[in-house]
């Protein structure tokens, strides 16, 4: 009888022009993509704030588009993870398809969107880490002087000092461009539940080209849901300086170097997260070792 008193106002823009006028009027609105994250927050309903404003992005046709050519795939931010998979498992980077597969049921991937997975507040999903490892670019639409501007930038540039993705105020991610890569080493693994056990869960995304016994362009990103993403050019450089296969002491050495970075960025990781990070690192090294030893010698 009295329900609905705290009902948020829903704005449903159909194009970017409508979006820009809404966001100018209601600058503190919540962006609503697939809702898979927002709906899982304990106080999502009834809404805490009276007269909250929600902009539902699902009706903006432009954000649902995706295109690909022989160099890259470009997705609108409202493209669902399930649709991403339909682009072609063969052409998409393995690290991305593995990440989507990892989520499990299509009941979730059918609703979760690529843009939404990047821009969650308060918890980092495993996706931004994977996109960082793929050196993805994103298009940001933002309001500046009451006008909608567009800007392409590397996703890594959105990472703040704490390792979380932070968007400028009154802005949204509209497109994500993922370059097809010929990197022959791609590795994604996640352990623990990001949603229900964020204190112990973690994931790692790694891409590189292994040429004989050295790595070219290695990129590695560790994600800790309640902390953020650990990505650093310095860690990448450590990897490019290695010659595979690594023996046990070299592996321990690498582990130590990486943990120096981890400890300086995130002080309060749980024991299990640390142990799992070590386990993942070892799995990556094992795979690289195996690849180096079994790779046919090229002329």
């Amino acid at each position: 009888m009295y329900e609905g008193l705290s009902s948020p106002n829903i704005h449903t823009p159909h194009n970017m022009a409508e979006f820009s006028s809404i966001i100018t009027h209601y600058p503190s609105s919540t962006m609503w993509a697939g809702g898979t994250y927002i709906m899982t927050r304990p106080d999502a309903y009834p809404s805490k704030v009276m007269n909250a404003e929600i902009i539902f992005l699902g009706e903006i046709e432009e954000l649902h588009r995706f295109q690909r050519n022989d160099r890259f795939a470009e997705f609108g931010s409202m493209v669902t993870l399930d649709e991403v998979m339909s682009v072609g498992k063969a052409v998409l980077p393995k690290v991305l398809t593995d990440n989507i597969r990892e989520i499990g049921s299509r009941l979730i991937t059918r609703r979760a969107t690529l843009g939404g997975a990047i821009s969650t507040k308060g918890l980092t999903t495993s996706f931004p880490g994977t996109l960082v490892a793929l050196d993805a670019n994103v298009e940001i639409r933002m309001i500046k002087k009451k006008r909608l501007h567009s800007r392409w930038m590397q996703l890594t540039r959105l990472l703040d000092r704490n390792g979380t993705i932070s968007l400028p105020p009154q802005s949204m991610i509209s497109r994500i461009r993922i370059a097809f890569t010929d990197k022959n080493c791609q590795f994604f693994r996640s352990t623990g539940s990001f949603m229900t056990d964020p204190e112990n869960a973690m994931s790692v995304s790694f891409t590189a080209s292994l040429d004989q016994d050295v790595l070219n362009n290695p990129t590695i990103a560790f994600t800790y849901p309640s902390h953020g993403i650990l990505y650093s050019r310095d860690i990448d450089n450590v990897f490019s300086s290695l010659r595979f296969p690594l023996d046990e002491s070299e592996r321990r050495n690498l582990e130590m170097i990486i943990f120096t970075f981890i400890d300086s960025s995130f002080q309060d990781l749980s024991d299990l997260q640390k142990i799992r990070t070590k386990g993942m690192l070892r799995a990556i090294v094992d795979e690289l070792n195996e690849k180096t030893l079994t790779m046919p010698v090229q002329d």
């Binding site: 009888m1 009295y2 329900e3 609905g4 008193l5 705290s6 309903y45 009834p46 805490k48 693994r189 352990t191 623990g192 112990n200 024991d271 299990l272 142990i275 799992r276 070590k278 386990g279 993942m280 070892r282 799995a283 094992d286």
Partner: protein, 648 residues
Amino acid sequence: MAERKNFSRYNMRCGILIRAEEGAMRIGEIKKPETDSRYLFLTADDFSDRCSIPVGDSVYPLMAKGRTSFPGDIVLALFAPDYESAELMRRDLAIEYVKEEDTEEEKPETPPDLEYGWGEFSPQEDGEKKYRTTESEFSLSHVVQPSYIRYTVTAWMDNANLHIEAPCEWMELVRVAVESTTGYPGKNIHIHPSPYTAKHDEYFITPAVLASIAAMATIKTGLPSELRDEAIYSRPGIQVRRSTITDEEGKPLSETVSMSVDMGACPVFPEEYQRQAMAGLIPPYSLKEFKGTVSIQCSGRYPAAFAGSLGYSEAVASTEFHITKLAEDASLTPYLYRETMEREKRKFTDYLPGFELEEQKKTARKAVQMSTYERKWSANTFQKRDFGLLGYIRGIGMASAAGVSGFSTAFSKKTGFSAVMTYTQKGNITVNTSAISHPGIMRRWRKIISDRICPEHPERVIFLDYNPETVDTGPDVLSRIIASFTPQLDSAAKNLAVLKESEALPVSLRFDAENTYYPCEFENAGYGTAVCEVMISESDYIPVVTELWASFSFPDILDETTLLGSVKRAFLLSLTENGVTIPPGFRMHIDITSTGTEGPVASVGGLVKALTEGALANALYQAGGARAAILPVSAERLEKALRKGGKE
């Protein structure tokens, strides 16, 4: 039965419960926002001195009175015109909790320790004979977690009658609870059972608690009230310490075992728990001396519920865990140890009859063969102490046991488990019982009765609807209704068939559990053996169960498919509850044979639970030592056990 009144939701009050986050706190001021007559707050004060529900000999607290005794204690019930308003109002409520210091906690009474034993043995070391002592400690930690099942109870008035619609397992408890907490006359309380789901039969207290509070709200406002809450899964913390003196060859001679059970803030059926536990603690091998103790303790934790067993399963699991240790000390594989040390017949005790062990051994042989247990067990013992080159460690464990059915004889004597059967003048047979069960079982009961009295007319057997005159047949938990009520009905029907010929009609027969007494507290029903394999990976420490093999032998099997389904379900449930992850490729190999003897298949859940916990603890012990074998297992606990202690 009075039909449910078709009232509009607009007149209804919707209630939610506000629970304390911590125990042992004094409830200070409750700051309620300003509300109008559409809202209602209920606290323990509204129930004056009637703020508890009688369950058996125990008293279950309804709401926290002045102080909270455990986390999750109900502090306040809040009724509003709809759930959203209630939820919003909850946010504006401020309850002040004051930490209590140095106050003597009032603990509910617990029964004295149950002790049982036989024989005497004093080890005398002379030059030839040497004795060894094997010790083990089996632990199950206290678990409190949401059950993901919401229970909704509705109360409404119709003239002088108070109607309650609740998802019931024990309708009489709901009525008694409402009567004792609200003071409303029992004959005017009508209970309407609504469909319920429960993984175990442990949630029978939840509907009674909800019904009492909803009834009070209805009595106060005169309006229909609905109250909903999520049932909480809570299982007791258990610790079993066992010490066995064996001879040089590892043959056990004397054993002392003590089991302590932490049942949380309010023990339910503690004496029955002791009896069931004792039945499980007595080992299958022969001993010159045995001393067992079961002690029940209370703590400031959420009151433990049945969780599918009243102690028997956990006690059996501890015995099975100990056998692995005995085998280890005797340098034998656990299976070989059983084959060598167990005799053909189990010793007759006050708790279990002296049944032949051959059937049980057969199941063990089958399970061991299917799983190639011996080979895997030996291979795993060569594992390095750390993860070594493979990056994972494995463990395999087995457990073998007999199931017991229903409740103990002592409990049945006390409770009665009565029902009334009447042969009417029209030639119908009416059964007055609160045990209204699954349609399949009802069909079977109908057939059993009609076979005795009117073989051609099963339709003449009528189970009376639930009403205030219904005879309380006791709780339908731990498969008791199938296990013990069925023979009770059969025997009563046999007597009634004779009585109807000699007495004037209508003739009634009140019957209770008297005619199903056994010489022991429990009767064995079915045997089984389970073998399971776990794998722990170095990279994540998640305990994964890779494969499970089980073999069972049951008496008369009615429907093999249904039985297989329930066995599988019980295994999966028990594995998940004990913390292991079930991967997509997980395979179960289950073999069920029928001995063809008379008797119903009951207590499948309890037996499977015992086997799972025993086999799992053994597998984890092999993988990570004693510290890893504490159930429920978790990645965090394994990480600590494997990193700090390694194998012991």
